[in-house]
Amino acid sequence: MSNTLTIRKLTKRVVICLAILAAVMCLCCLTGTQKISLEKVFAGPGKTAGENIDYEILIGVRLPRVVLAALVGAALACSGVVLQAVLRNPLADPYILGISSGAGLGVIIAIISGISGTFLGGSPIAISAFAGAIITVWLVWYIGHFTGKSQVTNLLLAGVVVNAFFGAVIMFLTSIAKSEQVYSTIFWLMGNITEKNPPVLWVSAICIFAGIVSLFSICYRLNAMTFGEQEAQGLGIDINKTKLFAFGWTAFITAVAVSLSGLIGFVGLIIPHAVRLVLGPDHRQLLPISAIFGSIFLVAADTLARTIVAPAQLPVGVITAIAGGPFFLALLAGYSRKVGWLK
């Protein structure tokens, strides 16, 4: 059976995809309104600040932003993969268990109350988004478990209801907020990548990387879980432990991503499907490759967002939806003969 996935085959594919990611990141670093010469960049930062502008733009402004986009893209795509498997629902995305509305509510409360100060280099908006996301997921998990022991349907329903309720509260708060507060809230809700300082990047990179590796370790269990929970238990998998692990880590990395960049839609839904269409549903391959392509997609989308209407910038969420939707539909049409659940 030469068709089965082996570590060697997977490693080869991951390395190829990482090379593509590196190339895209380099390309996007060099793209922008300000022309940059590589020669000048390699000359180093120079003795005094402002001596080598090209270096400062590339290393100080563009690179952190590209890295940030890559991190967020990887986290969202991974969460999407795992949640689609655990909930056995192709429509699941990282926000399905209420993360989006919880984080949104946290952010609008932070903006309206005007609190200031930082924590681990994170702004009050980031911190409250993270807190709102985690609290909401916990709430949804609690309600879902309270109503039925292991029914994923209850969990999905709880997520939808909490999303709708918090959405209404967000609307209410927006309607009583001042106009400049409304503006920054809306920009955040549309998903917006901005420059962050290095400590924030380091902390989030470590969190997200730890999350992806942890989730990778349960991928073979996710394969069995798509066949149903009793089936999975028959194959020797502790479903409650696996579910808790999966929900915990996806909530965590999604919350980190959301606190960095707001609500970027589409990545967590379409990247897993696109990779699955091309490479098949084996999660041990789907998860790492989706993470890499989530990064590639978001890095490219963010580069578009900051150049397409330069010197102004678009929220990246607008680009992911506008570019991602048709791209995904085209892929779906091309591969639909291969996809069983569409029929």
Partner: protein, 274 residues
Amino acid sequence: MSSIIEVKNLSFAYNQESILNDLSFDVTSGQFLTIAGPNGAGKTTLLNLICGILNPAGGFVKIDGCNVKSYSIKKLAQKVAVVRQEFVPPFDFTVEETVMMARAPYLGAFGFESKADEEIAALALEMTETIRFARRPLAHLSGGERQRVFIARALAQNTPILLLDEPTSFLDMKHQTGIYDLLKKLQLEKGKTIVAVTHDINLAAQYCDKVLLLGADNYHIGKPGDVFTTELLEKTFGVRIFAVNFGQEKFFIPSGKLAKPAGPNRTTSFIPDS
């Protein structure tokens, strides 16, 4: 022969509604047991108790001399494989990917199969004659083919015990006998202990060594010829039944109130044309 499955004074209830009450029987290693009975008598519940998914309200199930609940989920999956009524997942796994999942109870931290695992899966595909569509997605198979794939998966799990929940429902006659032939082959060639829940008592009787007839408030266990009698079946299922003798075997045909009358005698002897 030692008993590989031992069920003792087993009781189970869903929300105080008693399903199984004081059930005791055992299955020796390498035996083929059929569980039959009306809907709602608790056949699937019994299967779930044997494979540890449900907890008994009283009594116990022992596998290989140890209580089912004392096994870890992983260890139990190395003893018992279950084939359930077929479920096709929302994502398109191929036949070989599906069968390979059976190796999950034996995998290490990150869950990659070794060469040996691959060989075991390939053998299972070959034995169940599913190897010729190994690369096809599950959704593109017929019900009978898919059922064979799930049996292949249970086989690749390398367990001494195989539990099956209505393996032949929704299948045509050819595929029904195909599945039972396959199960018999696994019993005889691989020494598997097979426990199958079924509604098709005529077919099951031709293959199994032992029968558990599970009624709403009683049960009978024994050889097919002793348990499958017109009297016991009529009492358990609550329907009029005709028995037809054909050679050594006895076949049972249910007859509803409005069915065409089938002769004056309830037990007719069928004499084959010579």
